[in-house]
Symmetry: C2
DNA sequence: GCCAATTACTTGAAACCTAAAGAAATCTGG
DNA sequence: CCAGATTTCTTTAGGTTTCAAGTAATTGGC
């Protein structure tokens, strides 16, 4: 480590190990929690996480959404959504119809049965999550929310700068 | 909202929306960054994220690791590691041999070429990550590290309690 | 020594996921 | 109107991922 002309601590070459460790820790937390939720969904309701996530998106919008909307919100590819929706229509959880206004567009909604099943799962899911974060104080939660919001904004800016 | 006998704010039924929102935000951040890293690895080095992750694990341990070790560290299933390793051995990045002491065990290491390629990728990867977290102050980074450590511990405790 | 339990890994089936190419409908600028 | 660009969705190929079942080697109890 050396001191530059304005007496700030700097390193050559620049060292970014802290950010890397932060990223790995963030990833570990998410993987851990995601795995836990996945296990519980499977053993309790015999449902996969992607299906639960898709139903969660649809539960927020009773009038339904297009496949593109789902794709953007879930941050997964279009082709992925096509298959996921196919299986959930097949199992009776989703209702799917072509838009009258634009025949390219497919609008999907939860069926009555699908909604009922989702609500049941969501109620337990919320308790699992509360338990997972159980050792954090309300202040910790607020502070994490704030820092993750900042992280999200920073990451989006970085992604946008690359894509142009 | 009501006030209980000790004048603490409580809600009935208990409300865990804050934790749920925190989880969704954590997931959003990770998905966002992971997608960015995935894209950059593909376009810059034509390599997938799981392969990069596996090589990163091996780079830390020159003498090599067993498949089980890799499986635990990467938090993925054994079967997954088998296929991943197979393809990386095929492409010449990994060296694989059966342990003399225990013939059930497969020890894998980076080949010279594999290590060289990984180091090249890792150097850029570190810059990408630094850029992604670029808007966070050093204090933000420290604070996030602390809170995520606490989160990890809490989640592990919760998972352990369920599994018994 | 021997048998049962455990451990390490592989295999198989189904699902998930991406990127890229393709098909169909719509929009846009002459 | 109409040809080209764009949007929406599907398809395809190649990987990744899990879970569960299976195989092989080792360990531990007796």
């Amino acid at each position: 480590m050396i001191l530059d002309s304005e007496t700030k601590a700097v390193e050559l070459p620049e060292h970014h190990g802290d950010e890397l460790r932060l990223w790995l820790r963030l990833l570990t937390c998410t993987t851990l929690i995601e795995g836990e939720v996945r296990s519980r969904l499977r053993e309790r309701f015999d449902v996969t996480l992607p299906r639960f996530d898709l139903m969660a998106q649809l539960d927020k919008v009773p009038e339904g959404m297009t496949l593109s909307d789902v794709s953007k919100r879930m941050m997964v590819s279009n082709g992925n959504v096509t298959g996921l929706v196919e299986r959930l229509v097949e199992s009776g959880h989703l209702d799917r119809r072509t838009s009258d206004a634009d025949r390219r567009v497919q609008v999907i909604r939860l069926t009555k049965a699908g909604r009922a099943e989702f609500r049941k799962m969501a109620a337990e899911h919320e308790l699992w999550i509360a338990d997972v974060f159980g050792d954090l104080t309300p202040k910790d939660v607020r502070e994490l929310m704030r820092l993750l919001a900042k992280t999200k904004a920073s990451a989006q800016k970085s992604a946008k700068a690359r894509a142009g």
